[in-house]
Amino acid sequence: MHATIQKPIEEIVQNIRSDERVFIVGCDNCAMKCCTGGWPETRAMAERLQKRGIQVAGYTVPGPAGVSLCKLSNTRKVLMEDCAEAVAGADSFLVLACGQGVHTVIDATGGAMVHPGCDTVFGGETVSDTEVKEYCSLCGECVIEYTGGLCPLTLCAKGLLNGPCGGAKKGMCEVNPDQPCGWIAIYERLKQLGRLDLIESYQKPKDYSKWGRPRSLVVSEHEATFRFYADSKTVRNDD
């Protein structure tokens, strides 16, 4: 999921002009789980803005329940058909969702002015109703086969692929003494699995072109194509 945190209200208000009528859009998936853009937060945002003198043209969290704002076809239908009247009276959209959601609103509205209401912080695992943790950096070239499924690029502050830096103290990272060293976690896990052999081999440098943005994915029943920078990779999924 895309983890988000709301921007401070002062920052949001500061970017909306006094004569601007704003329509607020939430997301019923990731942002709902992060308490940044579900129905309660979206409704509350309308009140918080009105209290500060901002004109609110309307608000919605595109349903049905559990659907992501970034599903363009659904968001387009909800904004341009279901909420057509309120949307027609809006000068801009405040999006309480991740950066993908913000762009979905641009696409859904045919290019309307948008304001991001959140900072998108990372892609994470919802480990409980109150906590999201980052275990993947979305790098485009997964290396966790040899680390027992723990990503060194994400769990090591330096993203080292061949082992720890030597800076850890009492098992904790040199960058943050509250954070366990990612490489010690990998080592302990592989030791437990009886697979320490996996980290003995040299891991070559990453191909950072696969992290080259913007990236896209084109999928079908038979194959998928991942495009990055000027290159692409196509893989069949039915052979």
Binding site: A157, C165, G166, E174, V175, L196, Q203, K204, P205
Partner: protein, 298 residues
């Protein structure tokens, strides 16, 4: 001269360390930067002097410029190069530049994280890790860049690496050391160690890997410094016994005491290792006394 040449000759290798100035080298050549003054003094007592690369992620004069400057004064530099601030293009280019400017020894490290330094908002690079950096440097020496393209006049420098005996679990650090050797590391300097028993335990395993190891030690000036290192310097642990001994000593006598303690430690550990690396932290003038106490000389 390359340090591995000294090892081949069976020499016990002694190195010191200086940090480049926070600023530039003066155009007025009568004004020596501090690091040069220290290195000039050290020159008589050590085989080579490490030049740190923006250590603790504090921005300073480049280690390459300082290394070349010291080389021009006749001092043998060990040019430290970290992965923190450069991608693979810059790292290779700097290695070629270093060799072209006369550098014979390079110490290849990961580098302290930017969060430890004075430019916390900077982008951490870490395009490569230290094992990959060593592998790449060995590749350049073979005549190929990391993308496999042939290069002219391959740089032939001694490739050093670091290892931290304080690291727990030690087995993981030894795995890492083995990977560095497989990648091409020819000699090792350790992070500062103060625990003889720990170093002995480490060396019993490390010596099986068959590469020269220099025991590293930071001259401990005061109990406050020990406390600071224990809290803020990554990978170092100063034991209570050291803190007590320097703490019990009157401030006026601490320089002498620091030399005695460091020398005594090195005397006890020298039979376990193939060299020592002394980091005097500005007290370079203590090196002769330390080496006397350690019964060591070049």
């Amino acid at each position: 001269m390359k340090l591995n040449e000294l090892y081949r000759q069976g020499k016990f290798v002694i190195t010191g360390e200086v940090g480049p100035v926070k600023g530039a080298i003066s155009r007025d050549r009568s004004v020596e930067p501090n690091c040069a003054r220290e290195a000039i003094f050290l020159q008589r007592y050590v085989h080579a002097v490490n030049i740190t690369d923006n250590q603790s992620a504090v921005m300073r004069l480049g280690s390459l410029a300082a290394s070349v400057y010291l080389k021009s004064l006749g001092i043998e530099p060990v040019y430290q190069l970290t992965c923190r601030d450069r991608n693979r293009i810059a790292l290779q280019s700097d290695l070629l530049t270093a060799y072209s400017l006369g550098i014979d020894n390079v110490l290849l490290l990961t580098g302290d994280h930017i969060q430890l330094g004075d430019h916390k908002g900077a982008k951490p690079v870490f395009d490569l890790d230290s094992v990959q950096l060593i592998h790449m440097a060995a590749g350049l020496r073979e005549g190929y860049d990391i993308s496999g393209h042939p290069i002219e006049n391959p740089p032939d420098m001694a490739l050093g690496a670091v290892v931290n005996p304080n690291f727990e679990p030690m087995e993981l650090q030894l795995l890492q050391m083995k990977k560095k050797i497989d990648a091409g590391a020819e000699f090792f300097q350790t992070q500062a160690v103060y625990d003889i028993e720990l170093l002995e335990r480490f060396m019993r395993q490390a010596e099986k890997l068959n590469r020269p190891v220099q025991a590293g030690v930071v001259v401990l000036k005061s109990p406050q410094m020990a406390q600071y290192m224990n809290e803020h310097v990554s990978g170092i642990q100063v034991p209570e016994a050291w803190i007590d001994e320097i703490g019990r000593t009157e401030k006026a006598d601490r320089r002498e005491k620091a030399a005695e303690m460091t020398g005594r430690f090195l005397r006890r550990v020298k039979s376990m290792v193939q060299g020592v690396h002394i980091m005097p932290m500005g007290w370079a003038d203590l090196i002769p006394a330390i080496l006397r106490e350690a019964e060591l000389s070049i």
